[in-house]
Structure formats: C-alpha cells, structure tokens
C-alpha cells in the first residue's frame, strides 16, 4: 500500500492546527457561520440534523489494520463508539463536538488519515473497485492510478472552487463494482487492439434530482496522459460549468448543454495545451507507483481449498451459504476475497462499532496481510484470505455478528443516512432498511431470490444511488409526511440503466409489502433459479409488478396527523 512521506504527515498536522485556530475563532464568535462554513466543509465537517458529522477520506477504500484501530479509538473517544461506511468508501462519524475536531484530526494524522476534500466543491476522494488487485476479471490494478489522481488533485489550487463537487472512480476489471457510470469522470482500464493498456474515459455521470449516466468521452487514452487529460476535463468544466444555479452546476449539465461532441472538442483542444505543460507521466513514474501496490507474499505454492470444499459438502449450511455469497473469487488460486457484511436488522447499513473495528483489524492482520477495504455497497472486504481458513474466519465473523450471507442479495442494502441524521432528507432511509431486513430475515428466502441490489435514498439528492438499484427506493415528503417511491430495473453492471418509478408513493409499511409482493411474483414467473430478478424485469416489463403492488393495495393511509412508522420496533438491538 502507498504510505505517506514525512512531508505529508507534516501537512496533515499543520492542517489540523489551522483548523483548531479557525474553530476557536468560530466558538468565540469572531468567525460567523457564513465565514466558517466553507472552512469546515473543506475539512469534511457537516452540520446535520442533530449534530456535526465528520467525513473522513479513505482514498480508494484502502485501510491498514493500524488505521482501523485508529478509527476505533477516535470513534470511542470523540463520538459514540461507532463509525459509518459510505457509498464512496469513506467513513463518517455522526456525533462530533466542534471543539474536539482538531484533536481527532491530529490523532488520525498519525496514521495518515484525514478529512481533506471530503466535502465542498472540489475533487472528492477517488474511489475504485473494492476487489482491485485481487479480482480475477481484472486487466490491471487501478489503485496506482487512483493514488496518482489523489496526489494530483489534493489541494490543487486551480480546482479548489469548482462549480460543484467532482467525483472520480477508476476500475480495472470487466465488472463495474465502483459505479463509474454514476461519476463525473469514470475511468476504466482497457486493452487496445494492439495489446496496449490505457483508459476508456467516461464523463458526466451523476445522480441527484436529474440522473444521467456517464457518456463515453474517449475510447482509449494512454496511461501516461491520465493526469493531463483529467486536468483538461476539469479546466473546461471549471471555466464553463454553471455557477448561478447549484442544481445545474454539475458537469453532467455542462455536457448535456454543449452536447458530447462539442464538449469533447473543448477538452481535446485544452488537452493539447495541458500536454505541453509537463503533466504527462513517465513510465518510471508509473512503475514506481505500481511498486507501492505490489501483491503481498502469497503462499507459494498456493494451498488448495480442499477444506473449503469439504466444509461446503458438510452439514454446515450456514457456512456454505456465507461462503457462496461472501467469499468471492480471487486471482490467486487458493485465495478468496471475503466480504464482511455490515448489514443486519440490528444496524443501519454500513455501521460498525469501535469493538468491531478493532476486531476486524485483528482479522486483517491474521488473515489478510493487515489490509481491509471499504466497498461501494457499504461493506468491508478482507482481500487476501486463504481458502482453507474460511471456516475459522466465518466462525470469528459470526461471533462479531458480521457474517450475514448478504453480498449482492436483497438484504445487501445501500442506504443513505436519511432523515434520522441528514439535514437535507425528506424521509427516513434507515428505518425502511431495517424493516426490509426484518421482513427478509429468513436466509433460505434471501438465497432463493438471488442477485439483487436494493438501494434507498431519503431524498432526491440520491446519496443512496436509488436510480441504479435493481430495486430503488426514493423517500419523499408528502405534505409533511414521509412517502416512498419504488423504482425497478436500475443497474450498474453489465449495462448501466436508470430504474423507472413503478407507481404512486407508499408509506413505509406499504413499501415493504410492495417489495414482498414484487419478490413473490418474481419467484412465480422466473423460468429458472438462474434467471435473476433484473432478467425477469427486462423480459416482462413493469406492468405485472405494478399489478401485484397496486391492484388490491389500499391507498396510503392518511398519516397527516401522525408520525411515521416505528424504527424497527421490536427488533433486536446491537450489543454495547
């Protein structure tokens, strides 16, 4: 993994010190909120519904065990003993006191963690495939390019005040596990006909109230021009993106207004100028960066997975189900990448306690060369686990309540914080996620439903990626009460597609019932267990599902005089 140099550590300490001074001036009233807001946002600090929230950057989702322990420590000392993984592979702490933020940041700086560019109108933390470097379908490890982009974009003075936030994702595999189509720039490593590897460049993807799938800007870009071409795109956007209307300021609007060809012409013209400025990468630079991401010392010859197979054939159905869902193929024979599921009715999707963070740090050291990753779907991955050790790892995760066999199942819910935390939300997401988890608690049923992506957003800003969920749910405010729209048919891979609203909004219980009916109908009409829900939906269209949801479903109850449904009343609570 890439490690910071002393000058990077110094920068982080200085940054914390500067923020300490700014916070003191804010608390004394010397700085107004208007003056302070851009400063706190540049340090990842949001004002949410009940408290400050601090978003910490985990570039491309990589975590060393010492960083996991540091996150556990600060979440205990400065928060309420837990942390939350986001869809962009970052971490959020939800109950921060303003005056304690600098101490927290200084503690994290010691392990090279920070909150720089996790908010504000700048280039945000770069994301990638959580299986980068280990996926069997990968052409090349994208992490060296993520790190180059991180270094180039960090505190880049020209791009500190863009028209709007800017998100970049990079992948190297055939399957898109980072949702590049939903990013301002999506980069995919691909091989040209002559065998040379470069980048396919996608631009203008984004969700929010006007979702747009990214368009292909360039079929192939030499790797050496990664930074020069990205800089050209950013410069065109910075110069021509709208600043008069926040809702029309993302690059997707500029690409739409100019049209792809005119936008591309401007980028290519700018690129000619940028290339002359020395931003092209030399092969030795690329090679030096690649060395930071060299594979770990895998067992050689690889230990085969006889014990795994034996366990699967045994009566341990729980292990077999978990291994089938969560132990993913690895490019090295005898290894698996293990998804540590942060999904259960006992927690909001993506939450884990300080004790669990410490325990995962230990597991990373014992099973995965001291490394873990955060994922786009708000889970963790231990990337390098020997197959024969899976049964014992499963037992350890089970004891931690982190062994739900939920990867890519209906219970693997992406959820924004929603109205329980978020200042912008229209409806609660966590309560709905919990109600769905509870309804679909039976593992056999979840397994039978097969591959599904259920994504929940609590408002039109779409932080929960509902537009691209196989089942997407949007929370809305219906004259003071919460409502939920169900969307079907969204997808990221193999073909990005926006889901379509099925019908009128329902209340929380009605929405859970609707999903139940949709799933029951799917099981009835699928031709075989191999025909996934998305396949059936594309085959039969929305009408049959609309019928089962709305045919005899009563109109939403008049909830004008009452508040919404319980947050999982009666469901178990997590320990601690």
């Amino acid at each position: 993994m890439f490690r910071y140099e002393p000058r990077d550590e110094q920068l982080l300490r200085e940054r914390a010190s500067q923020f300490r001074d700014q916070i003191q001036r804010r608390l004394s009233g010397e700085l107004t909120e208007a003056a302070f807001k851009p400063l706190r946002l540049q340090n990842g600090l949001y004002m949410q519904l009940h408290a400050y929230m601090l978003r910490l950057a985990l570039p491309y989702g990589q975590l060393r065990s010492e960083q996991l322990r540091a996150l556990a420590s600060v979440s205990r000392r400065y928060d309420r003993g837990y942390a939350h993984i986001t869809t962009r592979q970052n971490v959020q702490l939800n109950w921060i006191r303003l005056e304690e933020v600098p101490d927290l940041l200084e503690e994290l700086a010691a392990v090279h963690l920070h909150a720089i560019q996790t908010s504000g109108n700048c280039v945000r933390s770069v994301t990638t495939d959580a299986l980068a470097g280990v996926a069997p379908d990968e052409l090349e490890d994208p992490r060296p390019y993520c790190e180059l982009l991180r270094q180039w974009s960090t505190l880049h003075p020209e791009f500190a005040f863009l028209p709007r936030k800017f998100k970049i994702a990079v992948i190297g595999a055939s399957e898109d596990r980072a949702a590049i189509a939903a990013h301002d720039i999506g980069l995919r490593l691909r091989e040209r006909e002559d065998g040379e590897i470069g980048f396919e460049v996608w631009v203008g993807g984004g969700q929010g109230r006007n979702p747009v799938l990214a368009k292909r800007l360039r079929e192939w870009l030499p790797k050496a021009e990664l930074l020069s071409y990205t800089e050209a795109i950013l410069r065109v956007y910075n110069l021509h993106g709208r600043r008069d209307n926040k809702h029309k300021a993302r690059i997707k609007v500029l690409v739409g207004a100019l049209g792809l060809e005119r936008f591309k012409a401007r980028v290519e013209q700018e690129w000619e100028r940028v290339r002359a400025g020395g931003l092209s990468l030399r092969e030795e630079d690329l090679e030096a960066m690649r060395r930071h991401f060299a594979p770990p010392a895998y067992a050689s010859p690889p230990i085969d997975s006889r014990e795994l197979r034996a366990a699967r054939l045994s009566k341990d159905r729980g292990f077999a189900r978990w291994a089938d869902a969560n132990a993913l193929p690895h490019r090295m024979p005898g290894y698996r990448a293990v998804v540590v599921a942060l999904k259960s009715p006992a927690r909001p999707p993506g939450d884990l306690t300080a004790d669990q963070l410490d325990a995962i740090a230990d597991l990373a050291d014992e099973y995965s060369f001291g490394e873990a990753r955060t994922t786009h779907r708000q889970n963790l991955v231990l990337p390098d686990v020997e197959s024969w050790r899976l049964p014992e790892l499963f037992a350890r995760l089970e004891a931690l309540e982190l062994a739900s066999p939920s990867h890519a199942r209906i219970t693997d819910i992406i959820s924004c914080p929603g109205l329980d935390y978020c200042n912008l939300a229209s409806a609660r997401s966590i309560a709905l996620a919990e109600a769905i988890q509870t309804r679909f608690a039976e593992p056999e049923r979840v397994e039978a439903l097969g591959e599904l992506h259920l994504n929940i957003s609590g408002c039109v800003n779409a932080c929960g990626h509902h537009h691209v969920g196989t089942l997407g749910i949007l929370g809305i405010d219906k004259q003071g009460t919460e409502g939920y729209q169900l969307m079907l048919g969204g997808s990221i891979d193999p073909e990005p597609r926006l889901g379509k609203v099925l019908g009128r909004a329902l209340d929380l219980e009605g929405l859970v019932d609707a999903i139940d009916r949709v799933m029951a109908h799917y099981l009835q009409v699928r031709r075989s267990p191999k025909e996934r829900f998305i396949d059936v939906y594309l085959r039969v269209g929305p009408e049959p599902f609309k019928e089962v949801v709305y045919a005899d479903h009563p109109p939403p109850r008049d909830r004008d005089r009452q508040l919404p449904a319980p947050i999982g009343r009666g469901a178990p609570t997590a320990g601690g």
Binding site: Q48, A51, W95, R347, Y421, D477, L563, A565, I567, G575
Partner: protein, 120 residues
C-alpha cells in the same frame, strides 16, 4: 428534562403543557437553530433562552414578533447558527411541528440512538 415523544405513535405521548402556548391558542411559528458547540437543535423560549426541548419553545404569533426574534438570533454568532422560523400548530398538549423533518429533529439524538444500543 425533555420528555421524548414517540414519533411512531398515532397519538404522540403528551408533552408537558406549555403555559405560553396555552395563552396563545393559535401559534404559527417558533424559532429554532443549531447550537454551535455540538450542532444540537435548540428552540427559543419566550425569555430568549435557548432550550433543547421543543415544548419550551415560545410561540411567535405574528410577523413582527417572528422577524424581531429572527433578527436578534442572527446576532448570536458563537452560540447558535442558522436560525429559522418553524411552522407549528397548537395541540391540546403543546406545540407540534407540521413537517416530518421537524418532528424527527425535535425528538433529538435519542431518537435514533435509542434504537441501536451501541449508539447510546
């Protein structure tokens, strides 16, 4: 001490009577803000002290009192931020926010934390 309402209940748990609201049968707005130190939602009492409890909020029945309070609050940099007027309606047992957002916000951090034990 703030008595937490059960937002799920069709018949919310009664809050302690607010003498001010009893005197003013049809309040239309109260003033709320976020506390600078920790971001906690606070509500302005009639004696111009901030309280974490919605039930303590002093109703502002007319445009003049609302704008006067808002202007005053905007001068409190360092203590609170982002003050705004919040629509409420009078109930027999106190004030009730009109929007779901404000009802949940008024319940405070305990609302989510009570549900997930590890957050307490």
């Amino acid at each position: 001490m703030y008595t937490m309402l059960d937002p799920m209940s069709a018949d919310p748990a009664p809050a302690a009577p607010n003498p001010a609201s009893a005197r003013t049968p049809a309040p239309s707005a109260i003033l709320t803000a976020s506390r600078v130190a920790d971001g906690r939602a606070v509500y302005l009492r009639l004696d111009r002290v901030w309280s974490e409890a919605l039930r303590d909020a002093g109703p502002l029945p007319d445009e003049a009192s609302q704008q006067g309070a808002l202007e005053w609050a905007r001068g409190l940099e360092g203590e609170i931020c982002d003050p705004y007027l919040m629509k409420v309606r009078a109930q027999s047992d106190g004030l009730e926010p009109i929007s779901a957002r404000e009802r949940i916000r008024a319940l405070g951090p305990g609302w989510i934390r009570q549900r997930f034990g590890y957050q307490v």
